[in-house]
Subunit: 347 residues, 2 copies
């Protein structure tokens, strides 16, 4: 146990000499008795060097506790070994597992992940994307709110992978919502509901539109009437504010753009004395953390968000490795209905 006081060196600004000079390849070169360029090769392309020199270099590097300077390497190569991930809202639980999936995948391949959020604003999204572009090798756009052409623009500068949206000419990972939706609508139809109200998400959300299409198709098939209501913000609070309109609509079943809306709606309806699911059934999307905390627990169409993060990152890494540019079709991942207590026969 050594004295723990050495750090406290209160001095004027600019005196921070803490980091003793980190060892460079020149230090290794000197110690190993070879040229710096040989050190570089031994460390990065071990097969372009004698087994003997490699050993020499490795020993010297270990002895000096050498760590490559990230920036010095990025300068001549242009490669940064970091990936950017942009999400609409860091506090939206939907993105947590995307973040984690992307983070672990990136880390496993030696990449660093840099996170940014657009706070649901298309303009902000473009700004942070552009800012990122200079310091990453590629970027993942999760549920982008900007336009297709802007995405294409970005993709023209650095490799881009999009999650939760299908844009032609760019690699995409998009859950196939039809399966989950069809399960949900059939379940409602089977329970005796005659109509379904869809509460839409942000206009800019491609996925919100996609879900609406799926719901219409499934309702047609099951001979249910589908109607639609807009929401301002896809949050719990946003859901609460919709309770009155939902009541006015007089439906027995609601499907919301996401779980946040569903939870807020349910809370507010219950606070107003409306019984869920007896009077109104509620189905969400995503199966976020907390969706099963509610009472009744939320029925929802689960998206494999973690897998989306993993696959998007994997694809981006492949693209960086030069495997290919753009796949012809979006990488599909499945969705499924998680039947819980918030949906049931009406009355």
């Amino acid at each position: 146990m050594k004295e723990a006081t050495s750090v406290v060196e209160i001095e004027g600004p600019g005196r921070q000499k803490r980091a003793r000079q980190a060892p460079t390849i020149y230090d290794i070169a000197r110690l190993a008795g070879v040229n710096a360029s040989t050190v570089s090769r031994a460390l990065n392309n071990p097969d372009r060097v004698t087994a003997k020199t490699r050993k020499l270099v490795e020993v010297a590097a270990a002895e000096l506790n050498y760590k490559a300077n990230h920036f010095a390497r990025a300068l001549p190569t242009g490669k940064t070994q970091t990936l950017g991930l942009i999400v609409a809202d860091i506090t939206n639980p939907t993105f947590f597992d995307i973040i984690r999936g992307a983070g672990t995948t990136a880390a496993a391949r030696g990449y660093t992940l840099v996170l940014a959020e657009s706070t649901e604003s298309p303009a902000m999204e473009m700004t942070v994307a552009r800012r990122m572009l200079g310091s990453v090798d590629g970027v993942i756009l999760a549920s982008p709110r900007m336009g297709d052409d802007q995405i294409l623009d970005l993709a023209g500068e650095k490799p881009v992978v999009v999650i939760n949206r299908d844009v032609k000419g760019v690699n995409c990972v998009v859950p196939d919502v039809d399966r989950g939706i069809s399960q949900a609508v059939r379940s409602l139809a089977g329970q005796g509901h005659r109509s379904v109200l869809y509460i839409a998400g942000p206009e800019e959300s491609w996925m919100s539109g996609r879900r609406w299409e799926g719901i219409q198709a499934a309702c047609d098939w099951s001979r249910l009437v589908a109607s639609r209501l807009e929401s301002a913000t896809p949050t719990v609070e946003g859901g609460r504010r919709l309770a009155r309109d939902v009541l006015v609509a007089g439906v027995t079943a609601v499907i919301t753009y996401n779980d946040l809306l569903a939870i807020g709606l349910m809370q507010e309806l219950q606070a107003a004395g409306v019984r869920v699911p007896e009077t109104i059934s509620i189905v969400g999307f995503d199966d976020i953390f907390g969706a099963d905390f509610t009472s009744p627990p939320l029925t929802t169409v689960r998206s494999p968000v973690h897998e989306c993060g993993v696959r998007a990152t994997g694809r981006l890494l492949e693209e960086l490795a030069g495997a290919y540019k753009v796949a012809t079709a979006a990488l599909p991942v499945e969705t499924e209905l998680i039947l819980r207590g918030s949906s049931a026969p009406p009355n």
Copy 2:
């Protein structure tokens, strides 16, 4: 609307010439008719240059849509304009607001935030911290699991700010739990409870110990009996697994290390037919997202996690600016009891 096909150029690896050469200060210099070093000064220290040349340079830079190369700048200066944030578990909602607070604060000051998680492992924590060290200007350790001396080691190399732990010689931001705890315990005592069971968090969690101390002190004051139970993992699942032990303990009031444990415990107790709060009151810590989704909604001691993120980042930035090294005391932030339905008089 231009053709959206140009991106699709399927070729062999290594042919990726997408990024047309970005403009450099030399391009600006040529365009503005000055030396590159003057460009550098005009852009970074505008006051060390004539108003006229500054204008010249700015115009040229704007025309070329110049963006400084992050890496080229970091090389000679050693400054990266990025901050590291290490959390124990990315999927633990407790950290969400820390992340957001840190993220927005960093962004507002022109810094990039890089996120890493230790998955609750002290060794992993040290590994990711060391890996980060080379490419950030400073790091924020949220609820670190490593030892004090290791933290001091890190702080010896780069500025470090710790959240949720008080370690001497390092800048810390730690919520003052006593206020919230005392409110919670008094509330329980006032309701007629005679004893409180504390469900502890990970051994490595400084904050878990701190909360236990606070609970003991508050119980002494209110003449309640305090007892303690260990938990394996501070998650919902971990909370579920503790239900049996809690029942065996035969207490009427439980305070858990965090909300996750509280929620899991409540779910499992209820599943076993135990009534909350009638038979057992449950109080959590943190007031995470979803804490009010449960039924009954969770009573909890709220920590201002968002503010912790903001202040830790602010302090780190100050330290980087050379304002000072280490404050004598931890930056305090307050806690408070959020009284909801999961706690009430017994029986």
